[in-house]
Symmetry: C2
């Protein structure tokens, strides 16, 4: 039986830490949310953010547009948020309709307000290990879980499955900055089970539901499952890992749901607080 690395306690600690900073510094951090239309996923994430924001004392400003919004009108509002000194973080619910250039969109946010780490400034900051911009919230959430449960990564063999711009690459760089020995695997990797099963820590971010079975594991392993998909057959949310098979065989594992996903929103909130503090300096 593995130790369950539950996200709830980690999120609570981050929220308390954020609240303390807000109160101690007597600040009013503000997050601007840019949303197009009324997609279920967006609305659910937005509600989660609003709930945690109210616990911390964070202001939320919503910029809501119709799906067919004029591009110029949209960017004008984004310009306003970029230059508004009372807004410290900006979050855009991507993906956007295809007529928007995604590279332009993600780079439009001022780097110091890029609290979900989507722009080039934030990405470069990951490579230079500087405090320029932010890491993507989900990538940072994986690190927060390891930190909270005292899973030391320094000098350890960490295998990352997946090389996306939102998880695989940024979490690899965050781990490297914490002195882990990082191996990045992907769909073209040969002997992936062998490589994975030799790791101390396995970060699963393939986006392939229940694709990681016992052949990827060893008894001393910590598994962080970043995946989250709806399993039609089982009628529930599942991660990248075949949880029932893998859980009894490893040392530590995050559940899905209730793992990384539940920490992401707290990280985002904390990033807004950090942006506000950096701005004061």
């Amino acid at each position: 039986m593995a130790n369950l690395l539950k996200g709830k306690d980690v999120a609570l600690e981050i929220i308390n830490r954020s609240k303390e900073v807000v109160e101690k510094n007597n600040i009013r951090p503000c997050l601007a949310i840019f949303r197009l239309g009324e997609k279920d996923n967006d609305l659910s994430y937005e509600r989660g953010i609003e709930k945690k924001a109210s616990e911390v004392g964070l202001e939320i400003r919503k910029y809501i547009f119709k799906e067919d919004v004029d591009e110029e009108a949209f960017y004008q509002k984004l310009d306003e948020a970029n230059s508004d000194v009372n807004i410290h973080g900006i979050l855009i619910f991507r993906p956007f309709p295809k007529r928007f250039d995604d590279a332009k969109l993600r780079n439009y946010i001022a780097t110091e307000k890029d609290v979900d780490g989507c722009g080039d400034g934030s990405l470069a900051g990951l490579l230079t290990n500087s405090e320029k911009g932010f890491a993507p919230a989900t990538a940072k959430a994986a690190i927060e879980i390891l930190d909270y449960y005292n899973v030391d990564v320094s000098g350890k063999s960490v295998v990352v499955l997946g090389r996306s711009l939102v998880i695989g690459k940024p979490v690899s760089l965050l781990l490297l900055n914490k002195n882990a020995t990082v191996t990045i695997c992907h769909s073209k990797t040969k002997d992936i089970e062998k490589i994975a099963s030799n790791s101390d820590i396995l970060i699963c971010a393939t986006g392939q539901m229940e694709s990681i079975d016992k052949t990827y594991t060893n008894p001393n392993q910590t598994i962080i499952d970043v995946g989250i998909s709806w399993n039609q057959e089982k009628g529930k949310l599942c991660g990248d890992v075949q949880f029932e098979e893998v859980e009894p065989l490893v040392k530590n594992i995050t559940p899905v749901p209730g793992g990384v996903g539940s920490v992401t929103t707290a990280v985002l909130i904390n990033n807004v607080v950090t942006a506000c503090i950096r701005n004061k300096k």
Copy 2:
């Protein structure tokens, strides 16, 4: 006896390729070099660039300053080069004296002219695998050698020793973009010899002269030695690898000197040509 992956032939191919593009498109690419003082290393690199530039039909403009140059005067010239439409690439011989902020300096070059890949725009381009900016020339040189000698990296296990911003991290991302399975090792890595000796390809960029011995190797391995240091005792240039010991035991290896270093200048020249072509589009 290993196959020697000599840089000379690779450099020649890159220079010929660059020359062909220049002639076919009837362009006059121009590189601006910014140098402070008269350091031996800088002057030697500059001569190498000038020689290859003349072969390709590349113009070189030199901006030479005294070591104690006024910062404002320096940046004014850099501004001019950034906005001059007839200059396509800019190279600054760093490191600069400490009164210069290195982050400001490396980010001051317009990304589209950043032919040695030192700015955040170029670094982010490595992560997004886009044609924004350029990879650092030495990192790209390692890739050019593998390409020239048909060492396939896709799906292969590549171990990178070193995590610097000029070699380790960028070469890892370039290899990842070519579908290699990349492991990044460094001074904190445990069992580094075991990890290295299990690799198909080993990129040595530790900067520790002759630190890589036979315990890092296997008979099917390709070794790219990025290191270059002056060995006082032997009275010659040496790489990160104990060449005499390692060379008989592996499949392919780059010599030092005459390996990666001899390709770097050609890559830089080719980047200026590419910058000029991109600018025309």
